[in-house]
């Protein structure tokens, strides 16, 4: 047997394209977030609330990732912001190359905030850097408070946790405090907001913080 020594990261190619994306965003002083969660946690609803709250003060664009349909892109388009839909056709996550391709189809001049909504999945998207500044993980109270224990990888890699559907706490078996404690045990630096897209609780706080991060990027 002869041996070819390699020592290479398997996802190096994705990481290389992610670096290209990151340079593209930096050159344009664009702040980019990658929203991740399990299906049905409310990513698109939070995005709608965020657009409603921030679109008058910020230039925002959106990349939607879904396994099928452009239903989410249609929801976002109603806010009059540039939006591109990536349909993965069965793929369980977005890759940097898919985002790179989508960039060319978007009108991004003057965009200050780009939101990438990943495919609903708490496992696979954790491994694929898209070139974003940070991952924002959404965990809703209806999913229970043990999600960070079951899917630690995603909570470890995220910078922000939105505990969504906080208005439903009286009706579900979920302790938001336990959820937050579980998340902080795998990622002590997580920034956490409790949100509800129905009552709008926490939406102003989340949006104000997000806007301050965008402004930091503009001044960088």
């Amino acid at each position: 047997m002869s041996v070819v020594t390699i020592q290479r990261k398997v996802l190096e190619k994705n990481d290389e394209v992610a670096s290209v994306n990151r340079r593209y965003f930096a050159e344009r002083k664009m702040f980019v977030i990658n929203m991740v969660s399990s299906p049905g946690s409310g990513k698109t609803s939070i995005l709608e609330c965020t657009l409603e709250h921030l679109k008058s003060g910020l230039n925002i664009a959106v990349i939607e990732g879904d396994v099928q349909t452009d239903l989410d892109a249609q929801r976002v388009a109603k806010f009059g912001v540039p939006v591109a839909q990536i349909v993965t056709n069965g793929g369980c996550h977005l890759e940097a190359k898919l985002v790179n391709d989508a960039l060319s189809s978007l009108q991004l001049s003057g965009t200050q905030l780009l939101v990438i909504e990943n495919v609903g999945n708490l496992v696979c998207p954790a491994n694929y850097d898209l070139g974003e500044a940070m991952k924002v993980v959404v965990a809703s109270t209806t999913e229970g408070d043990d999600k960070p224990l079951k899917y630690p990888g995603m909570f470890h890699k995220a910078s922000v946790l939105l505990v969504n559907k906080i208005d439903l706490v009286p009706y579900v078996n979920c302790s938001p405090d336990r959820l937050k404690k579980n998340a902080l045990q795998i990622n002590p630096t997580l920034k956490i907001f409790e949100t509800s897209c129905t009552t709008k609780q926490g939406i102003p706080e989340w949006c104000d913080w997000l806007k301050s991060e965008v402004v930091k990027q503009l001044r960088a």
């Binding site: 047997m1 070819v4 996550h93 696979c124 491994n127 960070p148 002590p188």
Partner: protein, 120 residues
């Protein structure tokens, strides 16, 4: 189920390092996969076999070394393997720790069957 695209990336890496005429000599592909890497090794092995069947790589197989999740404590300086789903130092209970292993997802080396070298 991103194991299929991981398997495709492994095949691409093999193709980059091994000349096309030698692909049929590839036997064992050694990998390191961290327990925190989010890859199900049985699925990866299955996907790798599925996409290499009836190709020049049909005799290749994956040999996977599992790397445990470990942290180094920023308070007491000691290394430990925390309970899965936490980064808490097992020695002093501190939360301020640095992950030192467990995220690996890499190809280490490729072993080629030399008995076929002369024939090609």
């Amino acid at each position: 189920m991103h194991e299929l695209s991981v398997a495709e990336s492994v095949v691409e890496i093999i193709q980059q390092y091994v000349p096309r005429t030698d692909l049929n000599r590839v036997r064992c592909v050694r990998m390191k996969i961290g327990e925190f890497g989010g890859v199900v090794t049985d699925s990866l092995t299955f996907c790798f076999q599925a996409i290499t069947a009836q190709t020049d790589l049909s005799k290749a197989s994956l040999e996977i070394e599992h790397i445990p999740f470990a942290v180094r404590c920023q308070e007491c300086g000691q290394e430990s393997r925390p309970e899965f789903g936490t980064v808490v130092c097992e020695h002093c209970g501190a939360l301020r720790t640095t992950v030192i292993s467990g995220n690996e997802l890499q190809v280490v080396d490729i072993n080629l069957d030399d008995s076929l070298a002369e024939a090609t």
